[in-house]
């Protein structure tokens, strides 16, 4: 049985094997997501992350949750040599993603002029694990959009399959045959025909440049910023799905693959990450044990 609702600017789906456990799991999940939102949102004036972004170079103490989220974001940056970088916040803002996406989408793109900014780089952020403090230089805007939802899924999936947007974590005893998960460009629509796969544990995440898009004059932009250029990544992929040991790992790899572009298949194969890449022309490339779509 499953339940769906809106949170963190996207759709959340919770599925459990035991129907009697759904209500309790749902309550725990909603509490966890509300906490994540209050802590890690770049768009809330009262969030802890906003306090860090406004600290103007000062060192400030943060909660264990935000510290964990920041540490996860920096670890993703390190694991991808800076391709998935939490310091892209300023570049996202000036490119146009400066409010919740429903507001960005509603804006008149013909009258909006995007700008681009250099990404300062994750190495400029300092964490103190003993004191749970963080310091980001003045002008650095941290964005946890890449890893935040995946971390929330990993934290909140207890004896359940939990999907937050395209990021899915499964935990506990799976149903017979595993958790069946559809794959598509948009998590809110029907999956691609024949794409449904089953996983027993870990995480599965999909990154796509087809959903969070907005206009700047005659140009279309998307939310996957390439830290090397400060601009939306020029990628040959429409959508990349990765299965990994955790949802954070899967999300990190799928986002990195989108940004790496033509270098993604070699990067993914080297890490033995089962992956399904869909090119702009719709051609599908499966790597490292990801099964071909059913006929």
């Amino acid at each position: 049985v499953s339940a769906s609702f809106s949170a963190l600017g996207t759709t959340v789906t919770l599925a459990v094997v035991d129907p009697g456990a759904l209500d309790a799991a749902n309550a725990v999940l909603r509490h966890e997501l509300a906490l994540i939102d209050r802590t890690c949102s770049r768009f809330r004036a009262d969030s802890e992350l906003t306090c860090v972004n406004r600290a103007a170079g000062r060192q400030i103490g943060v909660s264990a949750l935000l510290y964990d989220a920041l540490r996860t974001g920096l670890a993703a940056a390190r694991a991808t040599d800076g391709i998935v970088d939490p310091t892209v916040g300023r570049a996202l803002e000036v490119a146009g993603y400066d409010a919740t996406f429903s507001l960005v989408r509603a804006r008149d793109g013909q009258r909006f002029a995007a700008r681009f900014a250099t990404v300062p780089g994750w190495r400029t952020v300092e964490l103190d694990d003993a004191r749970h403090t963080v310091r980001a230089p003045q002008g650095v805007v941290l964005d946890l959009g890449a890893t935040g939802k995946a971390l929330a899924a990993d934290r909140a999936a207890r004896a359940a399959a939990l999907g937050i947007g395209g990021d899915i974590a499964v935990h506990g005893t799976p149903p017979a045959g595993g958790w069946a998960l559809g794959i598509g460009d948009d998590h809110g629509k029907a999956p691609d025909p024949g794409s449904t796969v089953a996983i027993l544990a870990g995480g599965l995440a999909t990154s796509s440049a087809t959903v969070r898009r907005w206009r700047s004059g005659s140009r279309e932009l998307h939310h996957l910023i390439d830290p090397r250029t400060g601009r939306p990544a020029d990628t040959p992929w429409r959508t990349v799905s990765v299965a990994a040991s955790t949802c954070v790992d899967a999300n990190t790899a799928s986002a990195a693959a989108m940004i790496l572009g033509v270098d993604a298949p070699a990067w993914l194969a080297e890490r033995r990450l089962p992956t399904r890449l869909v090119g702009r022309d719709g051609a599908i490339l499966c790597l490292a044990g990801w099964p071909a779509d059913a006929a």
Binding site: T11, T13, A15, G57, R58, Q59, I60, T72, L74, A75, R78, A79, D81, R123, T124, E126, D128, D129, A130, R131, P137, L151, A161, G166, D167, G177, G178, A180, L181, G182, I183, G184, D186, H187, G188, K189, A190, P191, A198, I199, L200, A201, L204, A205, T206, S208, A209, T239, A243, A244, S245, D249, A250, A253, R271, P274, A288, P291, D293, A294
Partner: protein, 128 residues
């Protein structure tokens, strides 16, 4: 009238001259060592990022560098510990962290790869 210069008097004069030379060399060595200590001390103080030998005392605490204990999904983050004070907004920003980066922790593959199924999906993984 000067005393006659005997071999004994000559040796005493030579000894006194050697002792004066030794005292001068000792004093010069001490002065040189002090100057070098000051120079290297200043160099060491400047080698710690974000600190200055001219800064107030609370800004000159030694920076401790150590490894963070991280969850499996976020292994190998190494960060710099900072003193528990608010650093002024105008404080210089280090060009690079004082800690050397730890080896990369690559995303780990799943226990088993996905398999095709005909079961109806409980969720869809897609862009959001």
């Amino acid at each position: 009238m000067q005393p006659p210069e005997t071999p004994l008097v000559r040796r005493i004069a030579q000894r006194d001259t050697a002792l004066r030379r030794l005292r001068r060399m000792t004093a010069m060595s001490l002065a040189g060592a002090s100057a070098l200590a000051v120079a290297f001390g200043g160099l060491a103080a400047k080698s710690f990022s974000g600190h200055s030998s001219n800064a107030p005392r609370e800004l000159t605490n030694v920076v401790r560098v150590h490894r963070v204990r991280v969850a499996p999904a976020a292994r190998a983050t190494r960060v710099a510990a900072r003193p528990p004070i608010l650093v002024p907004a105008s404080a210089p920003v280090p060009a690079s962290p004082p800690a050397a980066p730890a080896p990369s922790a690559a995303p780990a593959p799943p226990v088993a790869p996905p398999v095709v199924t005909q079961a109806p999906p409980v969720a869809v993984s897609g862009g959001s």
